[in-house]
């Protein structure tokens, strides 16, 4: 069965139950100095009514050894970038440089309190300031805030700023237009800002349909949210006209910059005519995804929108030192506590300075090359619903394999047996049975060729033995899990029952 599989095999791994199932009364994993001050009576100064009486029932009791083994064993069940190609489209799963981890752990950063006086936090303020400078140069826009904690929050901030400006002009307007190919956070973010969402269909090429846009665009529309390159990996070559259409009606263009890995050093969004955009530092700038986060979603804006940026802002004083500025009368306000995900900012700056001008451009060019290499060598085997050159990613569909009753989910699960993590399947929604593949620049040719071979071999299996795919994966610790049953009667915590 696994004969065709070159890249992976199986090996013995440990089972491991839940922390709570290991727990045993009296085990100790911590070590702190003994209390060295006179005690105060808890009853008197806090009072029984406010004190905990459950003895933290259910919390585990484990030794340090138990803990180290527990998480080491759990880790052995995960696939990660260091394992191999992680081709999740739209997620830009590139190598996470170790030097960035080292830098972020330097005491002077890791142990700095966010409310430390500016006088003793100049180094940290410099990081934020220098990074915002770099991102200004990369986007070409006028100003940047690094406060937002992730892309979705960046979207929220951007749309809030548009709303604030429009409100100042007298009318916040009602709607935000979004292409049918957009990521789910776009409409969700617009809604949080109090807008209704209207969907603009894409044209046959998968690009924004200018006529459709013109039809939907009116004085009720606050903004058009566009991803460029879009979620099909296509560059919206009419972006200038798009901006004109929107601007003509007094609206603004928000660019979702999740796909900036296709543009850094090659084109600056400012030149497209857009008004505001976010970047995902955890994608384009290689900060670790951490199994779900943290990220950072800096927002870049035109001069017109600059006064509405969230506070605080880091500003350079005449004497050259940096200060924290809260006096921002037009600001949309604060969007999270302190200074955003600072540790992520440190890593992103480290990434940018390591690359420099030539490196950033080289990364972009290679990312686009790798995506087109996969697109080219797989398009005889897999349907490409929107053919033609792509930028950093390519979207296939399961149309041909579906004839055998094999869907994108089955292909994805089978890829696991071949030693890969599957592509993105959940979107774009305009592609039925989508397989959205983004290799990034940090993949070797061998790895890409192995992926091509695997995909071709799976296509053959789809014809020869569809059942094999429908029950894949066959080599993992657990097989396909029944997600329907899990959602019907959700068990979301351990209860010991």
């Amino acid at each position: 069965m696994t004969s065709k599989i070159k890249k992976a095999t199986t090996h013995v791994v440990q089972n491991e139950s839940l922390l709570f199932e290991h727990s045993s009364g009296g085990r100790i994993g911590y070590s702190i100095p003994d209390l060295d001050v006179p005690e105060t009576s808890l009853e008197e100064s806090i009072g029984r009514d406010l004190l905990r009486t459950d003895d933290l029932d259910g919390m585990p009791e484990l030794s340090e050894v138990d803990v180290v083994r527990h998480f080491t064993r759990l880790s052995s069940w995960n696939y990660c970038i260091d394992t191999g190609l992680y081709p999740l489209g739209s997620c830009t799963m590139k190598y996470n440089p170790r030097i960035n981890e080292r830098v972020a752990r330097i005491d002077g950063f890791a142990n700095l309190h966010p409310l430390a006086p500016a006088a003793i936090a100049q180094g940290a303020l410099e990081i934020v300031y220098q990074l915002e400078e770099c991102l200004r140069k990369i986007t070409g826009l006028h100003a940047v805030t690094t406060e937002p904690a992730a892309g979705a929050q960046g979207e929220t901030v951007g749309i809030m700023m548009i709303r604030a400006l429009l409100s100042e002009r007298g009318n916040p307007r009602k709607k935000v237009l979004i292409p049918d190919s957009a990521h789910g956070t776009n409409p969700a973010s617009a809604a949080i800002c109090g807008y209704m969402v209207e969907t603009v269909p894409s044209d046959s090429e998968g690009l924004t349909d200018l006529n459709q846009l013109a039809v939907h665009m009116d004085e009720d529309v606050a903004a058009f949210m566009l991803t460029n390159p879009n979620t099909l990996g296509k560059f919206e070559r009419n972006i200038r006209q798009i901006c004109e259409i929107v601007h003509e009606k007094g609206g603004f263009v928000y660019m979702d910059g999740a796909n900036m890995n296709a543009l850094v050093g090659v084109a600056r969004p400012a030149s497209f005519g857009i008004d505001v955009m976010h970047l995902n530092l955890h994608k384009t700038f290689s900060t670790p995804h951490g199994g779900g986060g943290p990220g950072a979603g800096p927002v870049a804006v035109t001069a017109e929108l600059e006064p509405f940026l969230p506070f605080p802002r880091i500003v350079r004083k005449p004497d050259g030192s940096l200060a924290v500025d809260f006096d921002r009368p037009k600001s949309v306000g604060r969007v999270r506590a302190f200074f955003g995900n600072f540790g992520v900012l440190v890593r992103a700056l480290s990434y940018i300075l390591t690359h420099g001008d030539p490196g950033l451009r080289e990364a972009t060019e290679t990312a686009v090359l790798n995506a087109n290499y996969l697109a080219h060598h797989l398009n005889d085997t897999y349907e490409v619903p929107y053919p033609g050159r792509v930028m950093h990613e390519v979207v296939f569909s399961d149309k041909r394999q579906a004839r055998h009753g094999v869907r994108n989910l089955d292909i994805s699960k089978r890829l696991i047996d071949y030693g890969f993590y599957p592509p993105t399947m959940s979107f774009p929604l305009i592609v039925n049975g989508a397989l959205m593949v983004e290799p990034t620049e940090t993949e070797s040719r061998e790895e890409l060729d192995l992926f091509i071979d695997a995909m071709k071999s799976i296509d053959e299996e789809a014809a020869e033995d569809p059942e094999l795919l429908k029950h894949a994966p066959h080599t993992t610790k657990v097989g396909r899990l029944d997600e329907v049953a899990a959602a019907r009667k959700p068990v979301l915590r351990w209860t010991g029952k």
Partner: protein, 444 residues
Amino acid sequence: MRYIPNSPDERQSMLASIGLDRIQQLFEQIPASLKLNEPLGIGPPMSEPELLSHFRALAARNHVDCQSFLGAGAYSHFIPTVIDPLISRSEFFTAYTPYQPEQSQGTLQYIFEFQTMICQLTGLDVANASLYDGSTAVAEAVLMAHRLTRRNKVLIAGSLHPQYREVVETYTRNLGFEVRYLGFGSHGTLEPGALGIDKETAAIVVQSPNFFGCIEDLSRMAAIAHDAGALLIVSTAEAMSLGLLRSPGDCGADIFAGEAQSFGIPLSFGGPYCGLFATRDKYVRQMPGRLVGEAFDSEGRRGYVLTLSTREQHIRREKATSNICTNQGLFALMATVYLATMGKRGVQEVARQNFHKAHYAASQISKLDGYDLKFGGRFFNEFVVRTPIAAAEINRRLLERRIVGGVSLEGYHEDLHDCLLVCVTETSSKASIDKFVSALREVA
């Protein structure tokens, strides 16, 4: 570029294999007029040793060696050494959101464990996989209360962390909410008297210990809220207090929205931290954020999956319970490893030591001429000191002695210009507390 495996030659032959000879041809999709024809202006690449010195020089300008009594939403606690090597395993930190359960059981299981421990600590039924931070968690809680009650008014304790308050304002401003603030009395806590709660009120938002370190009477607030058909949202910025204080759930809270930084997460100038969100079972389908649940395969083997995702943006889009996608996964792992390592007894011991050290410091300080405690209320590890001269000036003088005194409250609250918010945790030895106390005497 050492992060790009393929050599220039290999890239050239890949280009050839797709029928091209120049990389530029790939970019013909982009109209020439939109292309950048000059360098970005960031400069040449920095080699690894140069980069290290660059950042070390910057780090040296952050004086983390001063003795600090800062809290106010970011707390200095001992961090067990085992945490970093474990979260630094690349299987954890270089993995994505666990979309494919068969290849992500490690991540899924620890999130399930995290959810469980947050439930145990908060006394609530269900917790999510994390939100950005404590402040956005409170904002999400307010939006959720609105969805659940269809009411537009929120009563927010004036003693909620000012930055959390600002974030709630930012998030509610565009949604036609009426936000009213509740004052605090001489004990630094809510005066249950005239809250002005009514049938329009979606929720009361209380933080405990509150921004001044004072412990609120949550049960009382729960009763008041529930009488009016409103929800009680409880927040805490100092999660360590959960080791000692009656849990929000036990007090009747409907939603808990807090910050987990105290659980093994470095100060790191304010982030990344880890937002906590927990509620009652009956409200689960209105919850924001990811949830992990138990599932079984065809052979009956137990595993974990992302579940109830019909609440989320990638499926429900503009009708989603939140727009959050990327959360704080790795930092939820930090908190999970912290709680597993400290365990039941460790969390209790740390909470106990915080209480005793803070009370020792408070009693020593209140013995000083010109200093006393601003509020009579009950507190955990943080308290407000009234200073003989402007608090800002006290801080300035302390800093000359390489002590970071506390947060000066002027700016946060008018009429608190002579107040210093002081935090004392288990990391302050008696010696350093005594040194702080005598420094306060000297600078007065």
